[in-house]
């Protein structure tokens, strides 16, 4: 195999054969090493969390990637192709200028006009001192009820928008709640408080990707419809309940449902 190994000959056959073999091994090895180096580079440059979210987003079912402008009635049907990041969406201004429709029918899930909502069912409240509080919205709260465990990030942890903000478990299932914006954790609350995290957002603060106003109502309506379909009995024809509101602690009330699928759709897991 090598010149110093017994049996090696400096012949054309040996040189050509072994050169081809070593070339193939070199290409295979360098492919693997390149991928590892690129991966390390992504972590060093803090792109990893964003990349994870974009890969995850790409694999979400189309029905869970609808554009916010569809919820507001500004676009008939539109699927987001920018990982829900309206801050860098080139079409945002075009659609935002269109008149919307009012979907503010009472669906039994409270939402506040003073809060901004993330598609992963968290809300953001900007405060006057440049900080923001983050909490779980009512839809998610009613679904989970009281979580069995909550794993909140430590103080000074850097959150990346759409990365994991905190983890909870309920009935043996892990729930990863996505961060609605970038920032540094200042203090933590929990289910017993109104909020879960208090953060100092990175400057310049841009909250354009968060839902507000009529969009929230349309989005929650779509989420409720999705939930009803997911909780309907297997093999039954799709139908929507006429009336009724989302009851609290639904995971305990309907334990036989496919909660893996429901939680994945609710918290944007592909």
């Amino acid at each position: 195999m090598f010149p110093w190994v017994d049996g090696f000959h400096w012949t054309m056959g040996h040189i050509v054969f072994l050169s081809l073999f070593f070339a193939a091994v070199l290409v295979i090895g360098s492919t693997l090493v390149s991928a590892l180096l690129w991966t390390a580079s992504d972590f060093r440059s803090r792109r990893a969390a964003e990349l994870c979210w974009r890969i995850n987003f790409r694999e979400l079912p189309e029905a869970e990637r609808h554009c916010r402008h569809e919820f507001a009635g500004r676009a008939p049907s539109r699927v987001c192709d920018n990982a829900f990041d309206c801050r860098s969406c080139q079409n945002y201004a075009k659609y935002a200028a269109l008149p919307g429709k009012d979907f503010s029918r009472n669906r039994g899930v409270h939402y506040s006009v003073n809060l901004l909502y993330h598609r992963g069912h968290t809300w953001v409240r900007p405060r006057g001192d440049g900080t923001c509080t983050i909490g779980l919205d009512e839809f998610a709260s009613r679904l989970i009820g009281k979580p069995d465990t909550v794993d909140l990030p430590a103080k000074n942890t850097e959150l990346v928008s759409d990365g994991v903000a905190w983890r909870m478990t309920k009935n043996g299932r892990e729930i990863r709640v996505r961060a609605p914006l970038d920032g540094t954790v200042l203090s933590t609350g929990g289910p017993e408080h109104e909020w879960f995290l208090k953060i100092r957002p990175h400057e310049p603060l841009n909250l354009r990707h968060l839902l507000s106003g009529a969009e929230v109502s349309g989005w929650l309506a779509a989420e409720l419809d999705r939930l009803q379909l997911q909780l309907s009995a297997p093999n039954s024809a799709p139908c929507l309940a006429d009336g009724g509101t989302l009851m609290p602690d639904l995971m305990d009330a309907v334990p036989q449902a496919d909660w893996d699928a429901v939680l994945a759709a609710t918290f944007l897991e592909s």
Partner: protein, 420 residues
């Protein structure tokens, strides 16, 4: 028990409908039994030696080499599909790419595992790399298969890392993403390696001057069997992939790929099979009329021993060669799934017969005046090891299907909910 079911469910991709844990365990049970029996038989061969087999100095190539040749030909779908998708940009075959990687990996790793038992001294297997005989086709086969197995393992890693739980680890997900960008490079290397080892597997028979039944004339250093084995492998690879996918659909009761994918695989397989049959027919005529008579052997010397008669030759070319090529190409039959799968089955049987003939018939036929026609019946240890490779393939494919995204299921499967 409910915890176990919950854990099992958690590893299955979102939106992918799978059978219950109990049903899956019942499906795996007989295959695991077969695998364990084969491991025991292989253990006997490794502990006591090759006297546990019915191979001897004359029949040095037995059932295991037939198995190796057959499954390596069937596994050609992996490199060929990668070549079609990444090099020739046939993106409509992408839905079967992951499945092809798993099929290729199980075929090649199974073949290498059996070879380790077959060489009799597996602890010295590294000698073939350290002291290579560069004039031997077998050396080329060993080098290329080892490298290609490495390529297949690397190609399988991104598929594994896409598992629902593993992808929650950010470093795995990012690595999978970055590595996936480089998979076309691996597809190119895999094509290069497969071209040589698929051909050299045939070449090692074609250079056997002492075996006129196998010996062939050729081009430069390559006998015609080099090209015929390569052609037959890339012809049958897509057919085998079709059969595996159709079997998976039958077992799971779900449609996994669109009918168009079957038709395309069938057409590619059919065209290549037609070219192979034409080349094989020409090669057979040259061999029977020129190559073989030049060393004092005529057709009667090869085909007058029952049961290895000329029927085998006819079967390999017409009902298991020409007929499946027509079934796979003709629009009337290719439109119907039943005929398509029938054609694919016949094509696979044709290549199996070809590998059987070259491995067994070559060694069974007498070549010297005092030789006799020899028969060979494999021992139970050989059969059990053979069965273990099949069981291993079924188990790996079943686990991969259950827990990994082999097919594009669940994408866009969420129901669209209208507003208002």
């Amino acid at each position: 028990m409910s915890d176990l079911l919950l854990i099992d469910r958690r590893w299955i991709a979102r939106g992918a409908a799978r059978s219950s844990t109990l049903r899956f365990a019942l499906w795996l049970a007989p295959w695991i039994f077969l695998l364990l029996l084969g491991i025991y038989a292989a253990g006997l061969c490794l502990y006591y030696g090759l006297n546990q087999t019915n191979m001897d100095n004359r029949f040095a190539f037995g059932m295991w080499i037939f198995l190796d040749l057959a499954i390596i030909a069937m596994g050609a779908g992996a490199f060929f599909t990668g070549f079609l998708v990444y090099i020739l940009k046939q993106k409509d075959l992408k839905p079967v790419l992951n499945s092809a990687v798993v099929v290729g990996l199980t075929c090649y790793s199974g073949a290498v595992a059996v070879l380790m038992v077959d060489v009799g001294q597996p602890l010295r297997a590294w000698f073939t790399f350290w002291y290579p005989n560069t004039h031997s086709m077998l050396t080329e086969v060993t080098f290329c298969i080892s490298c290609y197995l490495l390529v297949l393992i690397l190609e399988y890693i991104p598929v594994v890392l896409r598992n629902r739980q593993l992808r929650k680890v950010p470093s795995f997900l990012v690595f999978e993403h970055q590595f996936h960008k480089l998979v076309p490079v691996l597809a190119g290397v895999g094509t290069f390696l497969s071209f040589f080892h698929q051909g050299s597997l045939g070449g090692l028979y074609g250079v056997l001057r002492g075996r006129p039944f196998a010996y062939r004339a050729g081009f430069a250093i390559w006998p015609s069997t080099f090209f015929l084995f390569l052609l037959s492998a890339i012809a049958v690879g897509p057919s085998f992939l079709m059969l595996v996918t159709a079997t998976a659909e039958k077992v799971t009761g779900r449609q996994l790929v669109q009918p168009g994918v079957y038709r395309k695989l069938g057409f590619i397989s059919g065209v290549l099979l037609a070219v192979y049959v034409a080349a094989k027919a020409v090669d057979t005529l040259v061999w029977l009329n020129i190559t073989s008579p030049s060393v004092g052997f005529g057709p009667r010397d090869f085909y007058s021993y029952w049961p290895l008669s000329s029927t085998f030759l006819f079967a390999a070319i017409v009902p298991l060669g020409l007929l499946p090529a027509i079934l796979l190409i003709a629009p009337v039959t290719a439109r119907k799934r039943g005929w398509l799968l029938c054609g694919a089955t016949l094509a696979c049987c044709g290549v199996l017969l070809n590998r059987f003939v070259f491995t067994i018939q070559t060694l069974a036929l007498p070549t010297l005046a005092f030789d006799e026609f020899l028969s060979y019946i494999p021992s139970w240890q050989e059969v059990a090891t053979f069965g273990a490779v099949i069981a291993y393939g079924v188990i790996v494919y079943s686990l991969s299907y259950r827990y990994l995204p082999l097919f594009e299921e669940g994408k866009g499967a969420g129901q669209h909910v209208s507003l208002g």
